[in-house]
């Protein structure tokens, strides 16, 4: 997965817009910051996680990535917090917490 991040917020000016707002690269939805849409975020409990990868399969927007140790964790830059991973997890290893909570 690309590690490229688009400029967002105050970095992004009208001069950065492509003509006609055309997106010239394909498959780049995840380089756009959508993490700030979230109201709840998924927290993984590694003690409970069995590394079954169901969350990775069910994530509708490819926000979950395998880590080097084999766990599956959300990319919070991109994750919109829909909670499907928490619902599908058979081990109950993922909980959704309010964004305001630390």
């Amino acid at each position: 997965m690309t590690e490229k991040r688009l400029k967002t917020g105050s970095d992004f000016t009208w001069k950065d817009m492509e003509v006609g707002n055309i997106v010239t690269e394909v498959g780049n939805a995840s380089v756009r910051k959508t993490g700030d849409w979230r109201t709840k975020r998924p927290i993984l409990d590694r003690e409970k996680c069995t590394k079954c990868a169901l969350c990775w399969i069910y994530c509708p927007d490819a926000a979950i990535k395998p880590s080097e140790e084999g766990y599956y964790e959300s990319d919070l830059y991109y994750c919109k917090g829909c909670g499907i991973c928490a619902s599908i997890c058979p081990a109950g290893a993922i909980t959704m917490i309010e964004e305001e909570e630390k």
């Binding site: 009208w14 001069k15 003509v19 006609g20 707002n21 055309i22 997106v23 394909v26």
Partner: protein
């Protein structure tokens, strides 16, 4: 050799699209535009024009089909009028915001109700703010010339905006006038093959028409507005290049016998030619009058307009459209805005006439000039006055 032929403006526009060698035409017939798609369909069927002619079920579909064609880099043409332009309205904004240089000729028609197929500028004014480059034609030669010019300017990589060429329904669309048709090689010199820089291509995929959440939409609109205003330079350059090849030079604002004139009349479209005769008649009587023909409607030529009227005492603006409950006709309102912050400016007088195919004669324009000067001298209780309405009109006040 160029040739001089008798053509109605509709056929002149179709001829321009043929000589521009358009790739795709998608149009739905509507009076008074019908002769344009009819003639182009005939050309395609007869093999005179190698283009895809897409017969669609509505104007909304016509311009939608044009979007698709333009997205793959096709030179794309359509035409409509009145209610057809209204039905198309949603897609009109999309074409300009996606920066597709589609060319569309409009045979200006009144809007219902009451149902009217006859001419005025209500349809044009309803799409004023849609981000299309818009010009008005005075005669059939201009209908040909502006259509050709529209491709050249719209497709320029510094512009990439769609262009609307307005000419009056029936007064031009259905009237035969002499039109000089250039040679194909001159047209090819003026209008090279179109290379749309963002054409959809399976070998290099990209996304057209993505959505814009609140953190991007406003930047997108400002970028569009800045680019649109900047296109005026290319518009003017395009007029010059057109003149250099074909010998007819056009300008955003065209003064007619205005030098030293104390009173100016401003008109748009075919009525400018009638108004010119009224100016000639009055000049022959020694009156200090002149005419401004406003050709470029969008982007609005602020500097050129201010320059053209700066020495006049009175500026009479004639509209073929009512802005209900507004300050007068849309053209008048625009001119007043353009001059509002000027230290020295002419007194403004607004007239509305020629609605729904009502004719404006030379005498009518003489009346407009006389009455305009009288209003400046004695004042008027009305925000604007009408021409040729039966019964005394009162109650048009702030």
């Amino acid at each position: 050799m160029s040739k001089r032929v008798g053509l109605e403006a509709s056929h002149a526009a179709a001829e321009a699209a043929r000589m521009a060698d358009v790739d795709v035409i998608a149009a739905y017939p509507i009076t008074p535009q019908t002769h344009i798609p009819e003639r182009l369909a005939e050309m395609v069927a007869n093999g005179e024009l190698n283009a895809a002619y897409i017969p669609v079920e509505s104007e909304h579909s016509a311009l939608s089909a044009c979007l698709g064609a333009a997205a793959v880099g096709a030179r794309t043409f359509t035409a409509t009028a009145g209610q057809g332009l209204e039905l198309m309205h949603e897609v009109v904004y999309v074409a300009s915001s996606m920066r597709y240089p589609i060319v569309m000729t409009i045979c200006n028609r009144a809007l219902s109700a009451p149902l009217s197929v006859w001419g005025d500028h209500s349809d044009a004014m309803a799409v004023r703010d849609t981000g299309w480059i818009q010009v008005f034609c005075q005669n059939n030669q201009e209908a040909f010339d502006m259509t050709l010019w529209a491709f050249r300017v719209g497709e320029d990589s510094r512009v990439l905006f769609p262009v609307m060429v307005h000419f009056d329904g029936f007064h031009l669309s259905h009237v035969t006038e002499p039109v000089i048709l250039p040679e194909q090689k001159e047209v090819d010199r003026f209008l090279p093959r179109f290379q749309y820089p963002f054409a959809l291509n399976p070998d290099k995929p990209m996304t057209h028409g993505a959505f814009g959440p609140p953190d991007i939409y406003a930047e997108a609109k400002v970028a569009q507005e800045v680019a649109f205003r900047k296109s005026k330079g290319v518009i003017i350059q395009g007029f010059k290049e057109f003149g250099d090849i074909f010998g007819r030079y056009y300008h955003p604002v065209e003064p007619y016998k205005t030098e030293g004139a104390r009173t100016l009349l401003l008109t748009m479209g075919s009525f400018s030619e009638t108004a010119k005769i009224a100016i000639d008649t009055k000049k022959n009587k020694g009156e200090s009058v002149g005419l401004i023909n406003l050709r470029l409607w969008r982007p609005f030529p602020f500097e050129e307009l201010r320059q053209a009227v700066k020495d006049a005492e009175t500026l009479i603006v004639f509209d073929r459209c009512i802005s209900f409950g507004g300050p007068g006709g849309p053209v008048s309102s625009e001119i007043r805005s353009a001059l509002y912050n000027e230290k020295e400016r002419p007194r403004g007088v607004s007239f509305v006439g020629g609605l729904g195919g009502r004719d404006m004669s030379v005498k009518d324009f003489e009346y407009v000039i006389d009455r305009g000067r009288e209003i400046v001298e004695k004042g008027s209780e009305e925000l604007f006055e009408t021409v040729g309405i039966r019964g005394k009109v009162t109650g048009i006040r702030g």
